[in-house]
Symmetry: none
DNA sequence: TATGAATGAGTGTTCATTCAT
DNA sequence: AATGAATGAACACTCATTCAT
């Protein structure tokens, strides 16, 4: 409360609840209570529940993209190295911002996304696309529709993250390396 | 209507709506209208909206398991062949029962699952587990936690199915074969 | 309660409250309580609060027009006689349906009228217009814009009705005759 | 802003909004925005929204009474002349202070009037009453309850003013004279 | 003096559920 | 067995009012 502005408290509370329960199952009273603010206060900062969701989605996608960039910047070495940095970025993000990851993964929110959010999704994916294209040019990554490759790797990553979150799987350096290896094998040319 | 009992009509309507809109965004009046029955009639067959969801989840998981069994029965040949049958079963199911698949994939419903449904998930997964264990014994599949391998393959499959559903990817025999190959490479020992 | 359907009870309660307090100062809970129904029940019969108002306005205008017709039907005699019948009709209506009259007079509702209601107002006024035109043709009523004549007579009538309603004035046959005479003098040619 | 004190700015904004939209449909934020002051500032000058309304009503009634006095002062000539001055005063006021007139006419505010405002109404009417009594003594105005005569003339005037405001009637010297003549005919002895 | 962020009671409205028919 | 009218708790959201600055 001392270190968090009302707006931040609301965003944090909403993020947690949207991630855990989904958009429809989260009520404004829940958010206001968890944020420790009055019900009306939310509307001083966010026009509506939907706007609040979209702000969070855009924020989260940007944070996600940034997390990937941060690890991936610098001169290009090998495609495999790039893939490693990407994967590391994914898991770092999932570890530090589990709710943001959950929000992004959850398809349930799709109905409520506005134009801005949809664009942000495209922007985010374009970053991964670049790596894939480069790998294909280098003859290292399979010549398949990029969307399919992305779906395979991200799908695996999301599901694995979910397993971590639910405690079905215990995180360890070795396991993460193995999973990365699996995903790399999935898309590389043998 | 002629060939469908009231109960079946309700289940079908609810399945479609839960899959398309999600549990919370689906109202009982929507279901009763689509099913062509009175609002109160639903309660003659299902205690509550949640029970209705759980019945559908259990049904869907059983149908999913059955679909996998059906292709996979018969004498065991190779692990690769078994994997192929499993994958074929997954896609067959997604093609013929897209709503059931969508219902199963959607994490949004998690909150509302009862004990019975959770058990059914376990049952369903045990079938896949068996194949994995066998493959590991044979020295063909990586020695990793089974949950991780399942998450990788199912995650990829769900995400790919979603891409098909949204029209981001066009289904074709060749593409399916490629995707299967990707997934197999992900889990096999090289 | 026994003799009133829910819908009628709602209409009656809403009429009373809208007339006494105005549209904005009347809440749906007030209406549901006075009608003796649940809050949600109102929405089974009326889409929204605004629709409820408009239904009442149209109903009231039609009842008003009918009340004027009823007294005024039959062969035309003199303009004065027609005026008398009109005035009698106005007061009869105000006496038997004070709330409906109040609802019609109140300009506060203007903002919420839909197309249908606006048309009904026109229809209602056209009836009075006919009498005025006839009187002007006969050289008995002043040659002034009909809207002005209507405003004068109806304005006087509404204000007098209000005075009766508030008890500022005591109704009596003689007083009504005098008021009618005043209004007639206002518009006739001397 | 330069020439208007905060208090005056608030009163002016509130007058405009109450007149145009009604008391209930006007919000305090609307008033504060139009007045160019903070929301809380209103409460430094007026205890509540209701008090603000009542201040405006009293002010308006006093301005109205003053407007009538101004034209009517001086030695008495004839009753007809006095009536003319009264009528001129009414229309002058309506022309120069349309919002104040609208506020006074609107019955919708009745619910919120306090004792002070009610007294002011009486004070205001007493002025007109005086003229009427004098006319009746002179044998020029009908011997009817004064409230009835006031209702007739003011009712006609308010309704005509409304027609002007809505553009249903075009103002002109000739029309005003005619309307005055109508009203005079309504109350004079023939 | 003046502000506007903050509040929470209250608004119009929806909907899972019940029950008389 | 089947209905759909009825309910009232709960929803998203608003706004008169307060108060720390």
């Amino acid at each position: 409360m001392a270190q968090l502005s009302k707006k931040e408290a609301i965003l944090e509370a909403a993020l947690k609840l949207f991630a855990e329960r989904g958009f429809d199952a989260t009520t404004m009273p829940m958010i206001s209570e968890l944020a420790g603010v009055g019900a009306g206060t939310i509307y001083r900062y966010f026009e509506s529940k939907e706007v609040l969701l979209n702000v969070l989605i855009v924020e989260s996608l940007q944070a996600f993209a940034e997390a990937l960039n941060q690890t991936g910047t610098g001169q290009r070495t090998t495609v495999r190295e790039e893939f490693h940095l990407l994967f590391t970025g994914l898991f770092q993000f999932g570890k530090h911002r589990p709710n943001r990851l959950q929000l992004i993964c959850s398809n349930a929110n799709e109905l409520y996304l506005d134009e801005r959010s949809r664009e942000e999704v495209t922007t985010f994916l374009s970053q991964i696309l670049a790596t894939i294209s480069w790998g294909q040019e280098q003859g290292v990554i399979r010549k398949m529709p990029a969307n399919a490759l992305i779906a395979i790797v991200l799908g695996a990553f999301f599901q694995v993250s979910d397993a971590f979150r639910k405690g079905l799987l215990e995180e360890s350096k070795e396991l993460l390396d193995e999973i990365e290896d699996c995903c790399w094998n999935a898309v590389r040319i043998h």
